[in-house]
């Protein structure tokens, strides 16, 4: 029971950190995604009427929400881990009577919380601004959780390995952001010429955007099962990787 109590407090600490820094952790990504919806959707939407049967301002909403959530979950856990390591207050957690799996879960909860706050806020705003629907709520909920577990875990791993702040921002800006932009947020990959269409299927974020789109609009370039399968197939090893680092103490303990 001792370890469970510790895990709850660690999860609470991680959510408290997000809440205390809410202007940076929640408000800023929500505003920047809303600007995308307004600028690209509402202004460009007059020229690009529909993608398939979906209006353009609604078409971009799922991808923008997915982008904002995964970037926030990654950044959250990469920064919380790196800071805890560099300022050594991770020692208070490592020396506590918690199992490694409890530490992993406690940290991942922070990324989930931040991602869900952002996703929820953006969904609410998109309902008002674009009238986007909620076609398959269960698929949407599962997609959000899997995406957030994947990127919060990956952020944890990067935060544990990072030697400097630059390393965490490098992964965010050079890997995640470009993949998110070419993941079919602003267009349907079916419209791309070969080989770009085929190459898009190697981008993991493409599947997350597709399953978000299925959840919200009921439309997707690929099967929902394939999208959920790929996301889960990445989320599970990412989580286990983070768990392995806590279990072995590699990079966490000298």
């Amino acid at each position: 029971m001792t370890g469970m109590q510790g895990m709850k407090w660690l999860a609470r600490r991680e959510t408290l950190r997000v809440s205390k820094l809410w202007t940076q952790t929640v408000l800023a990504p929500v505003i920047s995604s809303l600007l995308f919806i307004l600028v690209f959707g509402l202004s460009l939407g007059d020229r690009v009427r529909n993608v398939g049967t979906v209006e353009y301002d609604q078409f971009i909403v799922p991808g923008l929400i997915a982008m904002a959530m995964v970037q926030a979950a990654f950044a959250n856990n990469a920064s919380t881990m790196f800071q805890a390591r560099s300022e050594l207050y991770i020692n208070d957690i490592l020396s506590s009577p918690m199992h490694p799996w409890q530490m992993t879960l406690g940290f991942v909860v922070g990324g989930l919380y931040r991602g869900l706050l952002i996703g929820g806020s953006l969904l609410a705003a998109a309902f008002v601004l674009t009238g986007v629907g909620l076609a398959h709520p269960a698929a949407l909920a599962l997609t959000m959780v899997l995406c957030l577990v994947l990127f919060a875990s990956f952020g944890t791993v990067v935060g544990i390995h990072a030697e400097s702040w630059d390393a965490t921002t490098f992964v965010a800006n050079i890997v995640i952001l470009p993949l998110a932009f070419v993941g079919g947020t602003f267009y349907s990959v079916a419209l791309l010429p070969s080989p770009w269409e085929e190459l898009s299927h190697f981008n993991p974020i493409f599947y997350m955007v597709q399953s978000m789109r299925f959840g919200l609009l009921g439309e997707s370039d690929v099967s929902i099962w394939l999208s959920l399968g790929v996301t889960a197939a990445l989320a599970v090893p990412a989580y286990l990787w983070a768990q392995w680092l806590f279990t072995t103490g590699r990079r966490l303990k000298a």
Binding site: M1, T2, G3, Q5, G6, K8, W9, L10, R12, R13, L16, R17, K20, L21, Q83, A84, E87, L88, Y89, N91, D92, I93, L94, S95, S96, P97, M98, H99, T248, G249, R250, K253, A254
Partner: protein, 258 residues
């Protein structure tokens, strides 16, 4: 093999029959860069002791402490706390650590620092809140209760670090140079608190560079260098053994022997 060296055994009068508060058996730590910090290191600290660990920088004091607190990957050997291996959660819940570096969570206020630490160590919210208020008063932090750690003075941070270590009522308190860089007044204050804690039955393991601190506080002192235990005894016993008038003399002679 230093484990069989009679100089390293606790004097018989100081060893009770209960499980020792801390027992290290053949502890070895080689860091990833190849540095051998401690090798085949044995140590027993009895329940209720006030034990000092003295040695120069790089002697292995912090490595020993880190091994006890699950902060390093031990290369070989065993660490037992009150008879339980350190891998058990029970054993870890009995230890309170105040590290040499001030490693306070920058996002938490004084009160939150204490409450969250209590939570990590298994305390329920009401228990933790009540205990935190006690610690805030005991360490004279009432005026700073809702201030975050980075806004505290050096002395206040040091007091909070000690309060955090004691928050969950540990049976074994490990203080790694608790008075390093603090002024005379605060040092006296911390000494008073540590003495009271020991008088209440808590086992204390203290590392320090201040020899007069070890002499004034510790019932038993171990001298270590290069990851090896050189000698252990009461301050008086060490003075006799080395024919010195004070602990500084003992220290100089012991270190010169290596």
């Amino acid at each position: 093999m230093y484990r069989d060296d009679e100089r390293c055994r606790a004097p018989a009068a100081l060893v009770p029959q209960r499980a020792p508060a801390l027992e290290l058996r053949g502890l070895t730590k080689r860091y990833d860069d190849g540095t051998l910090a401690v090798e085949d290191f044995d140590l027993q600290v009895h329940d209720g002791a006030f034990f000092g660990l003295l040695g120069p920088n790089g002697a292995g004091k912090t490595t020993v402490i880190s091994a006890v607190c699950n902060l390093i990957r031990v290369t070989a050997g065993e660490v037992l706390v009150f008879g339980e291996p350190i891998t058990s959660l029970r054993a870890r819940s009995w230890i309170g650590l105040a590290e040499q570096d001030i490693n306070l969570d920058r996002f938490l206020s004084v009160r939150e620092t204490l409450i969250y630490h209590g939570g990590y160590f298994g305390m329920r919210r009401e228990q933790a809140e009540e205990r935190a208020e006690e610690m805030i008063d005991a360490f004279d932090l009432r005026a700073k209760r809702d201030v975050r750690a980075p806004k505290l003075s050096g002395g206040q941070r040091r007091r909070l670090l000690l309060a955090r270590a004691l928050m969950h009522r540990p049976r074994l308190v490990i203080l790694d140079e608790p008075t390093a860089g603090v002024d005379y007044e605060l040092r006296q204050e911390l000494w008073r608190y540590i003495r009271r804690l020991h008088a209440e039955g808590t086992t204390i393991l203290l590392t320090t560079h201040y020899l007069e601190e070890a002499e004034a506080l510790c019932e038993e002192i171990a001298l270590i260098r290069g990851g090896k235990l050189l000698a252990r005894d009461s301050a008086e016993g060490l003075r006799e053994r080395y024919g010195a008038t004070n602990l500084a003399g003992v220290y100089v002679k012991a270190m010169a022997e290596v």
